[in-house]
Amino acid sequence: MSLQTSRVAPIIGRATAVAFMLVAIASAANGADIPLDQRRSGYLDLGRDSKAMQDDDTINPATLWVQDGEALWNQKAGAANRACADCHQDATVSMKGVAARYPAFSAARNGPVNLEQRINLCRSEHQQAQPFAYESRELLALTAYVGRQSRGMAIAPPDDDRLAPFVEAGRKLFNRRIGQIDMSCAQCHDDNWGKKLAGSLIPQAQPTGYPIYRLEWQSLGSLQRRLRNCMTGLRAEAYEYGAPENVNLELFLMWRARGLLLETPAVRP
C-alpha cells in the first residue's frame, strides 16, 4: 500500500493518493464500490416534469425555502443581535463552495459536523441564539439558502486527515445490515442501483441536491431525514437527528459522491 502511495503521490497529489488508498482498503474489505466513472446523480432518473421542476427556480417549490433563508440570513438574532450577514456579508460570495465541502471537521466538537450543525453552532456561539430544531422551517431555509450558493460546483470533501476515521465509520455503517429486512445500504445502492424495488427505480443514493424537495414529503427535507426514511424502510430503528452515526454516514456519502456536481435544492420523488 505505502509503496503504491509513494509512487502515485508525486504525479497526482497527496489528497487523491489518500483517496485511492481508502478506496483500495475499502474495496478489499467490503465489496464493489461503484466505479468512479459510473456514478450518476438521481436527477438523471427523474421524469420529464420533475426535471423541469428542478431546473426552473420560478416553479421549484424549494425556492420558497431559499427565499425564507435569504430573509433569515439578513435578520438580526439572539442576545448578540447579530445577523449572519453581519459576519459573512453577501452569502452569494462568502458561502460559495461551503455546502460542497460539508460535513467538515469541527474543533469545538472534535469531530465532523454537517451544515445544519454548523449553522446551529454559529447561532449559539456567535449570535447567542437558540439553535434551530432539526427539520424546522428556519433551519431548512438557511441550509437551502447556503446550499444554493454551491449549486453547479463539484462536491469536494475537505482534505483533512482528522476526518479519515469518521469517513471509515460512515463506510462501515453503509455496509452494515440493519433492521428486520436485514439489509445494508450498499446492497441496494452499490450492488443493485438501476434495478426496480416495488416499482421504483433504485438510485445510487448520491446526495447531490440536499436539502431536497421530496415529492413524497411534499416539503423540503434534509439528508438525515432521507437516511432515517431508509432505515425505517428496512424496519430498523432510525438514528436520531444529529446522532454521530447520521453525521458519519453523511460524511461518507459526500466522500462517495466526490466530484459529482451539487444541484441544491433538488427535486426527488
Binding site: I59, Q67, R137, S219
Partner: protein, 106 residues
Amino acid sequence: MARPLINVPAKVKRGQVFEIKTLISHIMETGFRFTTTGDKIPRDIVTTFSCSYNGEEIFRADLYPAISANPFFDFFTVATESGTLDFKWTGDNGFAESATAKIVVE
C-alpha cells in the same frame, strides 16, 4: 412566513399573450389522512385562487384536496395596459394570502 413566488415577464407588448406563474407555501391537508392513533387530521386547504389585472378578474380556480401541497399555477392573459396584477388565495381556517406584481405594457 414564505412570500408567494410570482413570476411575470418584466415588459410585454400590447396585445401579447403572456404567462403568469404563482407558487405559495401551503400544506393542503386533505382531510383524508389519519394520525398513528387513528384520529382524522382535519382538512386545511386553499379553496380559491384568483388573479385580477387592474381590478378585473382574469383567472379564478376552485381548489379541491386533490391539489398538491404548495399550490402552483401557470396561466395566461392578454397584455392590455400597464398596471398591477393582484393575486389572492383564500382557504380553510380563515387562510388569506395576497400578492401583487407590476406589469409594464408598451
